[in-house]
C-alpha cells in the first residue's frame, strides 16, 4: 500500500517536472468529484466513474496556487508516510502556516487546505487515509473477533475493555485472524449497544456489536466493509429518524461527500430498523405514546431526504414519507419505555434482533 502511494505521488511530481523542463506551464489532470463522475447504483452504492476531467494549470495565478499547494501537500504526505506518522486535517492546515508561505500558500482558513485534500484524493485516486491524513476515530467493535493491528499485536475484540476495540483511524492496517460471529450489528447509539453487551448478548448469540456513536465515521465504514469483505453479514440498527435514515444509508451506500472514495460502502449491509412498520403495526405498535415529536431541524432533514440520491429507493422513501406525514420519530431507547424493569430488556432485545436478522439476512441467532 505504502509503496503504491509513494509511486503515485512521485508520478505526479515527475509529470510537473517534465512539463516545466519542456518550457511548458505544467498541467495536472484529475477527475473532479462532480455529479457527472458519480453514479449511484442501488446494489453498489455510490460509484466514482470518471468521465470528465479537469486541469490544474500553472498558467494563471489562481490555478498555479492550487498546483503548488497540491505539490506541497503531496510532499508533506510522503514525508509523513515515510516517517510512519499520521496527521489530522488541522495538522495539514498548520503545515501550511509557515513563515515563508506568507503571501503564497499561507492559508486564511482551514477550508482552503481541506479543499486541497480532496483534490489530492482525486489526483491520486486514493482515500486521504492512504496518504496519512486521518480523522479522530469514532466507534468500537465488540464480539468474538480476533485481529492483528498495525503494531502486529493480536487483539481479541471482546477482551480489550467493556466498550470493545476502538476501531483505529486507518483500519486498512488491520488483518483479521479469526471471526467467530454470525453477524455484526452496527448500532447508532452507545446506550442500547452497551446494554446488549452488558446483557451478554454478543457471547450468547454469537454476534458482534459495532457501536457507531452517531453518524458512522469513515474508519468505521471502512472497517465494516472489511468485515463484509470477509463474509460477515452486517446489519444496521438505528433510531427511526430522518438523520438515522442517513446514517443507515451511509453505511450501506457511502455518502455523496466521500462518493469519490472507494471502499466506504457496504452494499451487502441491511437496515434492520427501527422501521415504520415496527412502529405502526409491529414490535413497537403498542408504544406509540413513547414516540418523540420531530423538531423543526428533524423535519427539515426529512424534506431534504426526499432528494438524496442514496435514499431514492422506495423502501427508504416510504420510511421518510412517514416522518413528513406523522411528524414523529422513534428512538432506540424505546426499549426502556417497554421494559422499565431490567429483567425484560434482554428478552426484548433478543426477540427483536432474532426477528430482524432472520428477516433481513436469513440468520438465526
Amino acid at each position: 500500500m505504502k509503496e503504491l502511494v509513494r509511486e503515485k505521488i512521485i508520478q505526479v511530481a515527475r509529470k510537473v517536472k517534465e512539463d516545466i523542463d519542456k518550457g511548458m506551464f505544467p498541467e495536472l489532470v484529475y477527475p473532479p468529484n462532480s455529479k457527472a463522475n458519480i453514479k449511484f447504483l442501488e446494489e453498489k452504492g455510490y460509484l466514482f466513474e470518471p468521465k470528465s476531467f479537469s486541469t490544474i494549470s500553472g498558467d494563471r495565478v489562481k490555478s498555479l496556487r492550487t498546483l503548488s499547494g497540491v505539490l506541497y501537500g503531496l510532499s508533506r504526505a510522503l514525508d509523513h508516510l515515510e516517517n510512519g506518522l499520521t496527521m489530522t486535517k488541522r495538522d495539514f492546515y498548520y503545515l501550511h502556516k509557515v513563515q515563508k508561505f506568507k503571501g503564497t500558500l499561507f492559508p486564511k482558513e482551514q477550508r482552503e487546505t481541506d479543499a486541497r485534500i480532496i483534490l489530492m484524493e482525486l489526483l491520486l485516486g486514493m482515500p486521504r487515509e492512504a496518504f496519512s491524513i486521518t480523522s479522530d476515530p469514532r466507534g468500537w467493535i465488540y464480539g468474538d473477533i480476533e485481529l492483528i493491528d498495525r503494531s502486529g499485536r493480536l487483539i481479541k475484540a471482546n477482551e480489550v475493555g467493556e466498550m470493545g476495540y476502538s476501531v483505529p483511524p486507518r483500519p486498512e492496517n488491520i488483518t483479521f485472524k479469526r471471526i467467530g460471529v454470525k453477524a455484526v450489528v452496527a448500532i447508532e447509539k452507545v446506550g442500547p449497544a452497551k446494554n446488549m453487551i452488558e446483557l451478554g448478548i454478543p457471547e450468547e448469540k454469537k454476534i458482534g456489536i459495532a457501536i457507531l456513536q452517531g453518524q458512522a465515521s469513515r474508519n468505521m465504514r471502512r472497517f465494516l466493509r472489511m468485515l463484509s469483505d470477509e463474509g460477515v453479514p452486517i446489519a444496521v440498527l438505528t433510531d427511526l429518524s430522518p438523520w438515522s435514515l442517513r446514517i443507515a444509508a451511509t453505511v450501506v451506500y457511502n455518502s455523496i461527500n466521500s462518493a469519490h472514495v472507494d471502499g466506504l460502502a457496504v452494499p451487502e449491509a441491511r437496515f434492520i430498523g427501527i422501521k415504520t412498520d415496527d412502529v405502526e403495526e409491529g414490535f413497537f405498535s403498542d408504544y406509540k405514546f413513547a414516540l418523540e415529536p420531530l423538531t423543526q431541524m428533524d423535519y427539515k432533514a426529512a424534506e431534504d431526504n426526499r432528494h438524496l440520491p442514496n435514499l431514492q429507493a422506495p423502501i427508504w422513501q416510504k420510511e421518510n414519507n412517514w416522518f413528513l406525514e406523522k411528524k414523529m420519530k422513534a428512538e432506540l431507547e424505546i426499549f426502556k419505555a417497554m421494559s422499565p424493569s431490567a429483567k425484560d430488556l434482554k428478552k426484548l432485545y433478543v426477540e427483536y434482533l432474532s426477528m430482524k436478522l432472520e428477516e433481513a439476512l436469513g440468520i438465526s441467532i
Binding site: I9, I10, L64, S68
Partner: protein, 533 residues
Amino acid sequence: MYPSWSSPLRGGRNLRRERIEEISAADFFYRNRAIAGFDNPVRATYTIVRELVENSLDAAEEAGVPPKIMITMDRVERRENGSDLMRISIRDNGIGLSADEIPRAFGKVFTSSKYRLIQSRGTFGLGGTMALLYGQITTNRPFTISSAKKGDYINRMTMMIDVQKNEPIVIKREVLGIAERSFTAVESYFEGSYARAKRKIIDYLYQTAIVVPYADIMFVDPDGVVFLFPRSTDEMPPRPKESLFHPKGVDLELLQRLIRASRANTVKGFLKTSFQRIGDKTADEVLAIAGIPADKKLRDLRKEEIEALYNALRSYDKFMAPDHTVLSPLGKKLLEEGIKKELRPDFVYAVQRPPSVYEGHPFIVETAIAYGGDIKPAGEIQLYRFANRIPLLYDTTADVSYQVAKGINWSNYGIRSLEEEPIALFFHIVSTKIPFKTVGKEYIAAVPEVEREVELGFRTCARELKLYLYRIRRKESLAKRAFLFRRFYEIVAECVEDITGERPSVETLLKMRFGDLYEGAGEGEDNSGGEEG
C-alpha cells in the same frame, strides 16, 4: 404644541353658540404650520433657511443670472427654553422688485395661478412668505424687504402680515438711492434653535451646492463660522419652458377653470388652445366620445356636458405622450461639475437619461457615480438624491434609487462592496410632478418607469466606473502577477525536488514566458495570492 383650538376647520354645526369666521389662507397656515415644516424651533430654523434659499435661487434663475446668495444668521437673545430669538438675513442677485411688487410678493400668502405647466422647485414649499409669517407670529416683530431692479430706486419696506385678512401691512417705507444691480434682501426675526438644526442646514447647503454648481452661496452662522460654497461655473442649464397641460393631467375642477380662463369661441377651439397634444383630429374624436358638437360655443357648455367632456378626456387613450420640453434637467456636464466641486473625486461620470413618462407626467432621470478623492468608504451606501434641483435629505433607504442601488450586483462592475469602497451615487429627477411617496416629500416612490430609468442610469455610470477601475487595477496587477509566479514556482520547484530528488528548471520557464517583466517583478507582501480552485 398648540391647543386643539388650532384644529380650525371642523365643519361642525355648532352654530348656536359660536361666532363663525371665514379663514384666510394665511390664517390656515398659521394654524397648521406643522405640516409646512414649522412644528418645532429646530425644524423651523431649518425650514426657514431652506425656503428663503430656494426663493432666492428661483429669483436669480428667473433673472437669468448665476445665483449669488448670502445668508447671515444671529442669535439676538438667548432664551432659557432652548429656542432663542434669532435673526436671519438673506440677500440675492435675483430679479428685483418694484415698490408695488414688494408687499404683494412677501406680504400675503398667495399663489401664481397660471394655467400652464412648468417645472418648479417642488418642495411642499410655502415660499418665503411662510417663513416670514412664522417669524412674525413667534416674535411679533416686523420683517424688512429691500429690493430694486438695476438702475431703479432701492425700496426698503418694514412690513407685517395681517394674518386674519391675509393682507400686507407696510409699517415703514424708505427709498435708498439707485441700485447698481438688481437684488433683493430679506431680514426677519424668528424663534428658533440653531445648534440642533445646524447639521441639517449645512447638509442642505452642501448638497444644494452640488446640484446648483453655478450658485455662489455664503452662510455666516450664529457662531460666526463662515461656510462658503463658491460657484465653479457660470454656465446655467436652459430655463424650463412653459407648456399647456396634457389632457391626462387635469381633473374636473381644473378643467372648469381652464374653460373659464379660455378665450376660445368653440369647445373644439378650447381643446386645441388649452391643451398640448390636441389637434383637429384628436379634438374631433374626443368631442365625439363626449357627444358634444365640435362647434358648440364654449360659453354654452352645460355642467353635464363639462362632465361628459372630462370623462371623454379620461377615457380617450390615443393622446401622444406629454411634452417634456417643460423639463429642465441639469445636464451631464453641470452635474459632473457640481460633484467635482464639492467632492473632488478621482473619477466621476454622469448620465442624463432620455425623457420618459409615468401616469401622464413627463420626467427625466439623471444619475452619476463618483469614486475616490474626498469620498471615503462609509460602511453604507453613499447616495445623494435631488428632485427638481432640490436635495432630498431624509429617508434615503426608502427611496427608489436606494432600492435600485441595493438591487444591482455591483461585483459585475468590479466593485466588491458599495458600502466599503469610496463610491458615491447621485440621482436627480426632474418632472412636472415628482412621484413623492409621502406628504413629507423626502423620498421618491418606486414607480416602475422611474425605477427603470434609475437602474439604466446607474448601470451606464457603473460601466464607465468599471473601465476606470480596470485601467488603474490592471497596471498594478501585471507586476504583481509576475512576482507571484516567481514565488509559486519556487514552491513548485522545491516540492518536486523534495519528492523526486530533481529540481525542475522553473527559472527558464519563467524567463521564457515573462521576459523582462519577470526580472523586474517587484517585492511587496501580499496575503491573498489568489483563491483556491
